[in-house]
Symmetry: none
Subunit: 226 residues, 2 copies
Amino acid sequence: MEPLLLFPDPAPPELAQALDLVGYPWKAVADERAATRSEPEDGWAGGVVVAANEPEGAFALCRALRKRDLPLEPLLLLVSGAQLGDLELREDLFDDFCLYPFQPLELEARLKHLFWRTGRGTRPELVEYGPLVLNLETYQAAIEGRPLDLTYMEYELLKFLASHPGRVFTRETLLSRVWGYEYYGGARTVDVHIRRLRAKLGEEHANLIQTVRSVGYRFGQSRWGL
Amino acid sequence: MEPLLLFPDPAPPELAQALDLVGYPWKAVADERAATRSEPEDGWAGGVVVAANEPEGAFALCRALRKRDLPLEPLLLLVSGAQLGDLELREDLFDDFCLYPFQPLELEARLKHLFWRTGRGTRPELVEYGPLVLNLETYQAAIEGRPLDLTYMEYELLKFLASHPGRVFTRETLLSRVWGYEYYGGARTVDVHIRRLRAKLGEEHANLIQTVRSVGYRFGQSRWGL
DNA sequence: CTCGGATGTGAACGTTATGTGAACCGGGCA
DNA sequence: TGCCCGGTTCACATAACGTTCACATCCGAG
């Protein structure tokens, strides 16, 4: 079996021990570079990321691992009780989470359940909204069947927006969620990308992205019901 | 929002309370027959099944709910630590599990993540008062289902007022709470915004905002008690 | 009934956020 | 090395927005 990716490096002893006990091979990495460097031939079997001690590094790693051509999955996040509230805005960065410190039995059960449910391919590889379709595997986008020629950043931005239809995001939020937390640049960058997206969507569909003055941008219509 | 199915009936007090606190409606059922009988029009929003106390009944219910034409989803299972080992054989009966007894925060986070990944969307944060609805995530407002086109300041003002129905606020208070503490401007600004809000609410609902002469403004009916 | 302060109203004004076109810059590739 | 592509930044145009003012109207006190 391919090893699991562990963060941080070195891995917390009790985590390493728990995995050893139930027979999961693993390898600890300190950051994205290390993750790429020591990646096995057939890719990682999955990931266990401890966010309780070094949240920034942990979330940065998750984001990087999710953005790859073949996103790392399944990804189990270990969080402290105090971090539970922060998870809401990072739903897409992990597949399941577990309180840290953890019970070995619970960790094992979660890993088993994760492998069971991701093994059946329950993950959607498409993001759809009305006439828009994003194929996450091939990095292609289309509207009404007509292919869109998007650049990397345009694709990422559209993917993020279309994954959260109806919701308003400030430029700062978009910069941190799409560009990355450590990004340090002008907010007007977002405007320009929005404009190009609207242009490529075509006049007919430009209104898929709406401006909410003095707040930010919204994709699609709002959700009134549940 | 449609209610969650709870097992057993009656529901454990701490579970009922935790769900009430975060605003999930629920209905407890004792078995499959009760589940079918009291099922809402649009189906259950999901299920929370406590397996810690009555494992046989709980798993039987899960099995029944999964076998239906429209399987109940998502289903969160609450298990004791001693039951963790048994889960392996029942992977297909639930979508996620949580240790019981549970931390309310963890329960909330798991429900949110479940709703997110099963695509049923998390409940939007709403401020409601009678016919008025404010969607805080999408920055949209509606009255009697009809969308209101509000500017940023109008929205912020209405949000503040509608969040404190029945209470009277002086113009100075509104300026400091809505516009910001350091704001330095004329009090008549408030009047103008109130007028525009009334206009947009429509003649029928303009009285949602009442003038309290020589004091300020009040939203909704006055509260006699408390 | 009358007076005066408080509030409603319409319009004008100044500010600010956003749209827009183009220049800049840096990395990959020939 | 020099070109090309994409991402970023800048400067300017523009329209939306918030604020202010002058005046009209309302309401309660006396």
